[in-house]
């Protein structure tokens, strides 16, 4: 009898996180988007840790992101190798050179960084939790083509996106930590 109770306890324990918080799809993305602070223009420092399976230590870089609700996102890496990536409506531009056929990636990046997540539902299966002060979301690409670039995305945050982890094929992962956003004055 005691053994059975023990088994039942462990079974209940297993099931616990499931009903503690498990949300899916568009509803979750909508809830998260509502919780993220809205500024028309803002900036935030970030740090990146690129964990490459075949390297002894992660590659660390730091920089600053500038977001404009209309014109898009500028991803500035300051150290160790300076680079400037513009994530605009027409796609990506890296150090002044436009990359063709990158509108989808650009839209996804804009959504991930600004926390306007609705657009992600088309490309990803979404699950996660938005009950506690912090929220998490787990995104898995729907298409095989996208899976060749990203195997999984993990997002976590509170009133802004705090942590973004991009899992890539081959066991590599890129962790991005964003600091609290600082509103910027409207340009012109």
């Amino acid at each position: 009898m005691k053994r059975w109770r023990l088994v039942a306890f462990f079974v209940a324990l297993q099931a616990l996180p499931a009903y503690a918080c498990e949300q899916r799809g568009a509803v979750l993305l909508q809830q998260i988007s509502e919780r993220v602070q809205k500024h028309r223009r803002w900036t935030a420092p970030f740090s990146q840790r690129n964990h490459i399976r075949v390297l002894k230590a992660p590659l660390v870089s730091t920089g600053r992101v500038e977001v404009d609700a209309e014109s898009g996102v500028v991803w500035l890496i300051e150290k160790p190798i300076a680079s400037r990536m513009e994530v605009g409506p027409q796609g990506l531009t890296v150090d002044g050179e436009a990359l063709r056929s990158t509108q989808l990636v650009a839209a996804l990046l804009r959504a991930l960084i600004s926390g306007e997540l609705g657009v992600l539902e088309q490309t990803f299966e979404v699950s996660g939790c938005s009950d506690s002060p912090r929220w998490t979301a787990d995104l898995t690409p729907r298409s095989a083509a996208m899976q060749q670039r990203i195997t999984r995305l993990a997002l976590a945050g509170s009133d802004h996106v705090e942590l973004l982890t991009i899992h890539q094929p081959g066991g590599n992962r890129l962790e991005i930590e964003l600091q609290a956003p600082q509103p910027l004055a409207d340009a012109g």
Partner: protein
């Protein structure tokens, strides 16, 4: 009951049982009505290589539907376009009309393994300028926000991705497995229709779905265009179905009223409908059993059976002496018609063979019903109205012309000038009625595609891959000289010498110099892994032959490669457009063959038109010989004059009206010969004075014209021609029929 009658009755019962058995078997196998025009055409009779190439080219668009959403007038955000794509794809999934599985993605393994050989020219130039540039780019990607994954261990220079970039269609971005966005903001979605969607039953569903989607897109402020063979096939099927049911029921209504008025009793009508019903059922079932499907066009032409099979019943019903009176006549009539149609069976044209099978089985069954079943039931003769009509019609054609020669001369002149004006037209497009809205949509949709491709192409054939590459090269140079944009394997394939040179370049720039090893160690990679990379590079020195490269190439290029067999290697060179087919046909590059499927089908149609015309001539001669033997010189010539005049009149009328003279005109003439011979036979056997003959033939002509006059209104050019040819032919046959009868003095009422 005489023994002969018993045998016929038993045979009729046997026929019914046989039909029931076939129906049972076919029902278990499933019914198939087909509407795609290509199934009616013979398999290409050119060399198998051309056929293989044609199939490869057709595969990609036969089941393919392309939805195109051009950018709206006021620019849409990318997110809005993405949402449109998502909703359209969801609608496609839930409609059940399309293949659910996404097209298999391209297997890049072979090309990846040969990345050191397949380096593109831009990259080679970059390396020549500054070998460290590629390493710096990779490093920036590792420390930045890489948009495509970096395989640091195996491909630190990103060679595979660089090669692929050359092969992606310019400025087309995949949004999902099926949806793509062009640089100009046009969204297009590809869909493969389920095979079952080609059955006529699904045609309506597809068209409804398309209309719904267009309305929905309009509501969203966007335009939805569609292109693809399936839509044309569906449109044709729905139109044919509508016409068959409309014309079928109208002509049936006409026949019903005519018979009710003539016989003043429903029983003869019932007997006639039984004949038509059993005849049509037999034709349908036998055709389905032999071919595995019945084509919509066969069914449309199958309606012509009503015209012939109704004759047998009418002769029987009008005759006072029952089957003894008309038995010989309807048997001769049936045999001659079946013989006429059987000649189609000798052609290698599946469409003609289906019609031959349908008509042959239908006529025999209708005849057997008249000869076997009708004598067993009591049927009233013509009623009041019928008797009056009989009196009015008997002796038709008896008054003599005072000046027959001038009349004959004018008639002959009219006939000859009409025939001289005949315009043969074998364009395959007359077979299909193309909805102008659909065609406009299709043309608009195609304009938005990022890459145009003509249906014509060159097939290149050579003993070995090296020779093939040489031929492609010289063909390509000729095409460039003419300014014709084209796609050939030789453009994209780096030769084996170039591949070996690429490997040597990389060896010198990154391995011999130690540049890569230093860079790796600087990033913090383990010594053993650095050594392993160098070893793998040394081992990967094999080059890709053209066949191996092409087998593993991404889709648009892979489709150009047909492979090698014991005799030859073959490939395709596609063209963006064909500004002047004449010049290209004459382009004389040994080993390269110009293939034009539309032109090929049209010339096949021309061949079969000639073939069918010859068959018609042979049938006429054979039947002529038989009738001369049967009825003597004078009688035979009289009988034969009826089909001759009918056919000539139909031809002349077509010429004067400017109707195209097609294979299907000949087909109609075959029916005219069958029916007009019936008329001639009866007038010959029973003379002009016998009122029953006159009534039966007049009723028959009226019912036939009712049935085919309808077809003249069809929107499909070929059915319209068929209908009008029959209309003129049968009218002429009715007018000319009395010529076959004995003159008054020797008539024998």
């Amino acid at each position: 009951m005489p023994a002969e009658r018993k045998v016929l009755a038993a045979a009729w019962l046997g026929l019914l049982c046989g039909l029931a058995a076939i129906a049972g078997v076919e029902h278990r196998n499933g019914w198939h009505l087909r509407a795609d025009i290509l199934t009616l055409l013979p398999a290409s009779q050119q060399q198998p290589a051309v056929q293989q190439a044609t199939q490869r080219m057709a595969q990609s668009f036969e089941q393919q539907l392309l939805l195109v959403v051009p950018p709206p007038a006021t620019p849409a955000t990318f997110e809005q376009t993405l949402e449109i794509a998502r909703l359209l794809e969801r609608q496609m999934q839930s409609s059940g009309l399309f293949e659910q599985e996404a097209p298999a993605s391209w297997d890049a393994t072979t090309w990846q393994q040969h990345r050191y050989q397949l380096v593109d020219t831009d990259t080679l130039e970059k390396i020549a300028r500054d070998p460290s540039a590629l390493l710096k780019e990779t490093e920036a990607a590792l420390f930045g926000l890489a948009t495509s994954p970096v395989d640091l261990e195996h491909d630190p220079l990103g060679l595979h991705q660089r090669t692929l970039r050359e092969f992606l269609p310019d400025n087309v971005e995949p949004l999902s497995e099926r949806a793509f966005l062009t640089g100009t903001g046009t969204l297009f979605i590809t869909a493969r229709l389920r095979a079952s969607a080609f059955d006529a039953g699904h045609a309506q569903a597809l068209l409804h779905w398309m209309a719904d989607m267009k309305r929905w897109a309009n509501g969203e402020g966007r335009t939805l265009l569609a292109s693809g063979l399936p839509l044309f096939a569906a449109n044709g099927a729905v139109q044919a179905q509508r016409e068959i049911s409309l014309f079928g029921s109208l002509s049936l209504a006409g026949v019903v009223l005519l018979l009710l008025f003539t016989f003043s009793s429903p029983r003869p009508l019932l007997a006639t409908l039984t004949c038509i019903g059993i005849g049509t059922a037999a034709g349908f079932l036998l055709t389905h059993a032999v071919f595995g499907y019945v084509h919509m066009l066969t069914l449309v032409f199958g309606v012509s059976l009503i015209g012939i099979s109704v004759d047998y019943a009418l002769h029987y019903l009008c005759a006072e002496g029952g089957i003894a009176d008309v038995g010989r006549g309807i048997t001769l009539a049936m045999l001659s018609s079946v013989a006429a149609f059987a000649s189609f069976f000798a052609t290698p044209f599946p469409g003609l063979q289906q019609i031959a099978a349908f008509s042959g089985a239908g006529l025999v069954a209708a005849w057997l019903t008249v000869a076997g079943l009708l004598p067993l039931v009591r049927l009233p003769g013509p009623g009041d109205l019928g008797q009056r009509a009989m009196r009015a019609l008997s002796g038709r054609g008896d008054h003599r012309l005072r000046h027959p020669w001038p009349v004959a001369a004018v008639t002959a002149l009219a006939l000859l000038s009409g025939i001289a004006m005949l315009q043969p037209n074998d364009d395959v497009r007359v077979l299909q009625s193309v909805d102008p809205a659909l065609a406009e949509d299709d043309a608009q949709a195609r304009l938005h595609l990022p890459e145009q491709r003509a249906s014509q192409f060159f097939l290149v054939e050579a003993a070995d891959p090296a020779e093939l590459a040489r031929i492609e090269q010289s063909l390509s140079e000729r095409l460039e000289g003419l300014g014709v944009a084209h796609r050939a394997l030789v453009h994209a394939y780096p030769t084996e010498a170039q591949q070996a040179a690429s490997h040597r370049t990389l060896q010198a720039a990154y391995y011999d110099s130690g540049a890569l090893a230093d860079w790796y160690l600087g990033l913090g990679m383990d010594d053993s892994l650095v050594a392993a990379n160098a070893e793998a590079f040394g081992a990967a020195a094999t080059v890709l032959s053209l066949p191996a490269w092409a087998e593993a190439a991404p889709p648009p290029w892979r489709d150009l490669w047909l492979g090698c067999d014991a005799t030859a290697c073959r490939s395709i060179v596609t063209l963006a457009s064909v500004p002047d087919p004449g010049t290209l046909t004459r382009l004389d590059v040994p080993g390269a063959t110009w293939v034009d499927r539309v032109e090929e089908i049209s010339s096949l149609l021309a061949r079969y038109r000639t073939l069918a015309t010859e068959a018609l001539g042979v049938v006429y001669l054979v039947l002529g010989a038989a009738f001369l033997a049967l009825f003597g010189l004078r009688g035979g010539l009289r009988v034969l004059s009826v089909p001759a005049l009918s056919v000539l009149t139909a031809l002349a009328a077509s010429g004067l009206l400017g109707l195209p003279f097609t294979l299907f005109s000949v087909l109609a003439l075959m029916v005219v010969v069958g029916i007009s011979l019936d008329y001639g036979i009866f007038y010959h056997l029973h003379g002009r004075q016998r009122p029953a003959t006159a009534l039966a033939i007049s009723l028959s002509a009226l019912t036939t014209v009712l049935a085919f006059g309808m077809l003249s209104f069809s929107s499909t050019a070929v059915v319209e021609t068929f209908g009008k040819t029959l209309f003129f032919g049968i009218t002429a046959a009715w007018l000319a029929a009395p010529l076959a009868g004995q003159p008054i003095r020797s008539s024998n009422p």
